[in-house]
Amino acid sequence: MAAYMSAGRSANAFSTHDFVPEWAQEEVSTGTTIMAVEFDGGVVIGADSRTTTGAYIANRVTDKLTPIHDHIFCCRSGSAADTQAVADAVTYQLGFHSIELDEPPLVQTAANLFQQMCYRYREELMAGIIVAGWDKRRGGQVYTVPMGGMIVRQPVSVGGSGSSYIYGFMDSNYKPGMTKEECLHFCTQALALAMERDGSSGGVARLAAITEEGLERRVVLGHQLPKFSNT
């Protein structure tokens, strides 16, 4: 590449700002809204579908619900690269562990694998993950592994930049003992509210229900999302 000099520039001829647009220099982030809810017999998980590099939407149809094993999923928020890398690593580790055990892995095991990696590399990583799934021992479970590497099991959990806006909604609308359909409805509403307020969340709402039978995925397109009178 020819050296780039022009009047008025400093001796530092190699300024990345000139060769690449600003959005390409930003980190790719799943600034996001993710959530997971336990119900009797399984879990419902949900996420928006926006991936941003600065103000540019790199992917408007992202799938942030990543399978880790047959009945275990994770919802990713934070740096897209970091979360993909960690999820790949955990998928490998869990698959190996499951073969050793000769039985399906526990959700708690998957969650702890995430936690170990997120805690060990906490300075390098920017990853907030919710692990959710079903296993035979404890049924539907949701574990949240926020940035920093803590782990805690919760009946309902929200994460990502959009989550701040729906804590109030979550606290007031969640009731223990909801059915699968009620959970799906609750998630759809919460995601819609967050996507409306958070600039880093948007697109479509992706949902999944995980039970003993298996997996059921749904997509709620933008125009089908619930609308609220004030927005």
Binding site: I166, Y167, G168, D171, S172, R197, F228
Partner: protein, 188 residues
Amino acid sequence: MVGVEDLVHFRYYVSSKTINKLIQVHDRIFCCIAGSLADAQAVTKAAKFQISFHSIQMESPPLVKAAASVLKELCYNNKEELQAGFITAGWDRKKGPQVYTVALGGMLLSQPFTIGGSGSTYIYGYADAKYKPDMSKEECLQFATNALALAMGRDNVSGGVAHLVVITEEGVEHIVIPGDKLPKFHDE
């Protein structure tokens, strides 16, 4: 021109034992402060004087919009030094009940309802979902109380006692709800 909207708009603040975040700037106009308390108190003190003077000159109670404008001028002209946001609400003869928000840089916006302060981020979703136009006074009070309780439950710098003020043509009614009497949600 009797208001088709509710005759009622609500004002509320959360105060600790030593901090008062609700300032009465005129008979039917209240101002809620957020941000740097020192800045906010200084601004509202100046605004109270200006509004009072304006009211005397005009020989009639000030418009809510005028009061909000006074705050806005102060915020905008001193935006470099100040760090305070306000919600101005009240009742006047011309337009009835109104709510105005004056944001950090001095933007003035009229809204049917609004939320502000550090705890407000947690209740945007709740407020969007639960608010409907043309609520009655009781519904408004319930809405505000619930929203406050939810925000106080999540925001570590909000708490203590919830104050609500109901402003109508007839007058001003002050309601105080101690923290332990606020509605509880499953988490607590």
